[in-house]
Amino acid sequence: MTTPTEPSTDGLFPIGRPTPLGIYLRDLWARRDYIVRVPLNDLRSQNAHTLLGGAWLVLNPLLQVGVYFLVFGVIMPIDRGVDSYLVFLTLGVFAFHYSQRIISDGARSMVSSMGLIRTLRFPRATLPLSNSVGQAVAFGPVFAVMLVVVVAHGNAPTARWLLLPVLFALQSMFSLGASFAAARFNHLYRDLENLLPFVFRLLFYVSGVLYSVDHYVDDALLRGLFALNPMYVYVTAWRWVMVGGPATVVEAAAAVAWALVALVAGFAVFRAGEQTYGRTG
């Protein structure tokens, strides 16, 4: 047997140990081309078996808003305390669905790449992260539709629009963080992906997507409680930025706080499970 005493271990490093944060982030950075390119290719091939192809990226959000507008704007046109219901609805639905897509697809990102995980060693955070990047890119056409609806309704761009990148970044950070946590839990128990559609359905109704919370809830304390719901916070922020809808300092602070807390905590939760991905038991 070779006696492992003589040769020097210079240049060797331990493997199979949790990677220190700095090196983990460096390895993640080295995967940046994966993180951007793979979801782009997926987007391209996603509509491969459809007649309309890439047009679905625009059609899908249009149809969503169309259905809600038909039901709640035309068939049941009650007063929801907003001026232009179509604009109100478009901003709400698109903002809500952006986070929903990141989180629910992110939850499945580990489970759906099991083969890759079991075969290759790479920082697993690559997977939820690349999902988020893909969703952010897919938001491009959605945002274009949003702009057309807003401007066509006579809303000229204001200085507040300069805050759009900030808002988009904050909401993306929050959603990515939540998707990190969701990816870990869903890898542990797939129950989560069965549950998530209902969680989002519930959130959809309590986040003021279809009606103005401001119009129905006067109590400041109660409004404060709404700020605890990140989806409400971002939906409200989009309206405030784009068409000057009502918002308070509490909600603005919540938008920042949710982004930071979710990203840091979600990443920490995800990384704590790094060694478990791809294994059962």
Binding site: M1, T2, P4, E6, P7, S8, T9, D10, G11, L12, F13, P14, I15, G16, R17, D27, A30, R31, D33, Y34, R37, V38, N41, S45, S113, G115, L116, R118, T119, L120, R121, F122, T126, L188, Y189, Q275, G278, R279, T280, G281
Partner: protein
């Protein structure tokens, strides 16, 4: 003496297999599903030098695959330490990348996941496609592939980046003769390039051909470690 490529010091790998994850019913009753602690690798110590080709033999369940997986960082070591010069590439039979993608896209995904940048991937893909010898099948979804075709694709992807250390787990056994010859040639080039190989195989002929040294594992421990002829003679006699 040449530099070390990898060093295992008292490495142990233990993992738990359960029939299923605890269900809510089990948790409420305070029961855990029958869990089995598998102590697959029990204190293994050896050095591999740069440019060495080491065969690993042993009966089924002796911890060969587990040892390789721990060496590439896919499984954590529960005690001891494994040191490496660079992250080894692991080649296994059950290799699936992403089943719903074509072979070509899998090559791309595999190379990107290994940390190559876009430009390098674009440069490499045609050569890797060529090496797989899969022909038109390269543009078919991977779920349509046979195990031999998967192994070819995976071998081609893993060796394309010229990793310094290559861990091969029976991966060559499933290819057809032409591909085995081709991969043997690539392994020779790899060795000539002072690459390091750890080869798990039940094909002792293959080990004789390509390894100068053999480690014999049994029940997660090393029974013998030495020149190929000596160790294989003892192994075959056992």
């Amino acid at each position: 003496m040449t530099a070390l490529a990898l060093r295992c010091v008292g490495a142990e790998v233990t993992y738990t297999i359960r029939s299923h994850r605890p269900l809510i019913r089990d948790l409420l009753r305070g029961q855990r599903p029958a869990a089995q602690q598998v102590h697959a690798v029990r204190g293994v110590t050896f050095d591999v030098h740069v440019g060495e080709s080491v065969g690993v033999v042993g009966p089924n369940g002796s911890g060969k695959t587990t040892l390789l997986q721990a060496t590439t960082g896919l499984l954590p070591v529960s005690a001891g330490e494994i040191l490496v010069r660079s992250v080894p590439a692991f080649l296994g039979v059950q290799a699936v990348l992403r089943n719903q993608l074509t072979g070509r896209r899998n090559i791309e995904v595999g190379l990107l996941a290994q940390g190559l940048d876009r430009a390098a991937v674009d440069d490499l893909v045609p050569a890797v496609v060529e090496f797989t010898g899969l022909g038109d099948a390269i543009d078919m979804r991977m779920e349509t592939y046979s195990s031999g075709m998967r192994a070819r694709l995976h071998f081609s992807v893993a060796t394309a980046t010229s990793p310094e250390i290559l861990l091969i787990d029976e991966a060559l056994a499933v290819g057809d003769r032409a591909f085995r010859e081709k991969s043997a040639r690539r392994l020779d080039e790899h060795r000539a390039d002072s690459g390091t190989v750890l080869l798990v195989s039940h094909d002792l002929g293959e080990i004789r051909r390509s390894c100068d040294r053999v480690i014999w594992l049994q029940d997660g421990q090393i029974v013998a470690d030495g020149p190929t002829d000596e160790v294989l003679a003892a192994y075959e006699a056992s």
